[in-house]
Symmetry: C2
Subunit: 430 residues, 2 copies
């Protein structure tokens, strides 16, 4: 009889978006990995478990991966909504970002991690400032993350120049090399905020070391028009010219694409991150996700920062992603629940080149979330995948586990002192 660390019994276990949920399913976890997934009623399967966890009215799913956020921007949540984009940025966000300190970044990131763990998100891709601090926070709280120090043409709160940010990227990559949860990525902010040289250096660093690149691309109509006016080509064409459209690139936003952009993205196996709620809230528009998916491009989902969302709930983000495409294309069969759920799990794992996350299978990392189903909003339940995308919310998550470790158990955060953090957040002035 094989020994495992623990077994969890659930009403449903959903291994991935494409296979059906196992009714009365169980998973066995050992040393941070999934040892087995099975039907609890099957008498033939027997394990000796140090602990047996019963989650009778629950649905266990792979942990969600937030492919794009600026975690510490939780500090700016709801600070100044309903304003024109330039006014919002120049009068409210930029001045406050310039005053960010390592301490504030720590508090904001911790708050973001608390929110994400609370909502069943086990991993996230971050681009912001002071990623050294952010990496420490993530390491402490036990989440998985892909972290990129923001590289820009002008001074950030952390560095005087993009060159220093690039140097920091290399330093962090060396520091965290081989870590099982922290990954460092190259993060040139956008084609319009980086010089051609910074973009070329980012590309070279990525190519040489096999690092992932995250970059904002074609978010607004203005950005695309400016690029065409100034360079005669689109942002995607420009990045392609500089070697920044590769299979290591995660292109965030892509709201305004031409057919040739889609061809470039497809040909180079670039991943596109859709952030539908932020695109709507900032008035950027709606990404042509159906066209992008139909070209065979890998698409994932991100919340963007809490300043433009205003939360980090990947469940509502999946729902928004699905509904908006059905609505504006006048076709309720588009972007099904299973497609959206894949975008938040399997597709993210593919983009991040980690085959051990994004689905539950023997030998995979034990990254998962357990959803409590016994709430009025979640009954009846005909199809767990429909529920995940259309009705589950962050608050329904009862347990969140990364590498086999419970970061939240029975609705209680285990790796974050919430009372202390709340007190800190209440006293933030920025």
């Amino acid at each position: 009889m094989a020994q495992v660390d623990y077994i969890i019994n659930c009403e449903f276990v959903l291994a991935d978006a494409n296979s059906g949920a196992i009714k009365n399913g169980s998973i066995a976890v050992k040393d941070g990995f999934i040892f087995d997934i099975f039907d609890s009623r099957s008498a033939s399967v027997q394990y000796e478990a140090k602990r047996l966890i019963n989650r009778e009215s629950c649905l266990l799913i792979p942990g969600l991966i937030n492919s794009h956020t600026h975690a510490a921007m939780t500090l700016f949540r709801g600070l100044a909504d309903d304003l024109p984009l330039d006014k919002w940025l120049t009068e409210h966000i930029f001045p406050r970002e310039s005053r960010l300190t390592p301490e504030l970044i720590e508090t904001g990131t911790l708050l973001a991690c608390a929110e994400m763990i609370r909502g069943g998100t086990t991993g996230f891709v971050d681009m912001y400032f002071f990623e050294d601090i952010i990496a420490d926070v993530v390491n402490d709280v036990g989440m998985r993350a892909w972290l990129g120090e923001g590289i820009l043409n002008f001074p950030t709160p952390a560095f005087a120049s993009g060159y220093e940010a690039l140097k920091e990227t290399q330093r962090l990559a060396d520091k965290w090399k081989g870590h099982d949860r922290i990954n460092i990525v190259v993060a040139p902010h956008a084609p319009y905020t980086c010089s051609e040289e910074l973009l070329r250096l980012s590309s070279e660093m990525s190519e040489k070391n096999d690092y992932l690149v995250i970059i904002h691309v074609s978010e607004t109509r203005f950005e695309v028009e400016q690029s065409k006016r100034e360079r005669g080509i689109t942002p995607v064409e420009y990045l392609d010219k500089l070697g920044l459209m590769s299979d290591k690139t995660i292109a965030v936003h892509c709201v305004h694409l031409f057919d040739n952009d889609i061809e470039i993205i497809c040909k180079n196996n670039v991943t596109v991150v859709n952030c539908p709620e932020s695109h709507l809230k900032l008035g950027s528009g709606v990404s042509p996700v159906i066209k992008i998916l139909n070209s065979g491009i890998n698409v994932t989902i991100g919340t963007d920062g809490a300043a433009s969302n205003n939360d980090l709930d990947m469940f509502s983000e999946m729902g928004s992603a699905s509904r908006i495409q059905k609505g504006i294309n006048h076709d309720p069969s588009l972007l099904s629940a299973s497609q959206c759920f894949s975008m938040a799990t399997l597709n993210a794992a593919k983009a991040l080149k980690n085959p051990l996350i994004g689905s539950l299978k023997k030998g995979a990392s034990a990254d998962f979330a357990i959803i409590d189903l016994d709430k009025p909003r979640l009954r009846p339940i005909y199809d767990p995948v429909s529920h995940i995308v259309n009705v589950v919310k962050d608050c329904d998550v009862r347990d969140t586990v990364v590498n086999g470790r419970f970061l939240m158990e029975d609705f209680s955060l285990l790796t974050i002192d919430w009372e202390m953090l709340l007190n800190k957040v209440k006293n933030v002035t920025i």
Copy 2:
């Protein structure tokens, strides 16, 4: 010193969408009405309260009003998503609706009420079948409702003809006359499902008795094209001809309107109900809400039934309403949080001709919800109204009160036996 039933102290009390939140606010309730709203730190105000309720880290707001739903359709939640509209209706919804019984309606409505109370919704407008049963459920659970027996050209599970449904409407209106929470409305289903005679009779009943009318109008492009093809006029023009566009009319959907439709709606003081999530999910499109609002028309928000949403959360509905208009009109300043919050409160009160609900003021009905703010997703808090629309979810509501009576207190439903209901819902086969 005036005597009151209870006083609640909160971090914030928000009287309505337009006035700022009172920091450290309190409300005093007596005999089901709001006796006073005041700053708790003001020493001059003193009441003798039978009970003092401390909600230190909470935000108290007027109860939300769901202007359009089919409550019992919770039973069909997530039953068959991602399908073309006709297949969804003819193969999945209609066959099951034909098998609805009074018992199923009771269970489905109770589940909807549990979900709505859980989410701070204190009142809802319903159009469905067996409204006699529904009225009893609503009366028992203590919510406020406006109920209309569905009038259609063909047999419903409840009645063999629209004439019988009209007769039932009159019977229910007489039965519940003068009740302080249950209101009966006339509910011809839609211009394309009612004969001209049924529409005329509905109009006459409304005019004669001063009853409100709820009707689905111009939901899909197909409906509008069919009307123009068959009658040469739009559904709105057709209803206007039949006297069904009046200040007593609540026109649900209005996704596809021409300029003349908007003029008719405006001229006659018709209220428009926006159900953005349902419009998107069914592929109907996006209602021209900005144009409608700019014409001076009263607009409210509804979730529609849970089959096409798939929940009854008015918080996420407000968020979707706001974001979608910003996004498709490429302007982040459109449909502000306070406008959306008004749609779910003040505007609904206006449509339903009840000045005692939709805002908190001395003498108003004590219909309110208390939101627990000490969650990672809800901090920091710069602007309570932004939070209500952009980040609060149903699950954050701690207490829901109608006519001064707690229907949920400290997250526990007081008027619904949730264990028993859950068991019933789990055993529903339809």
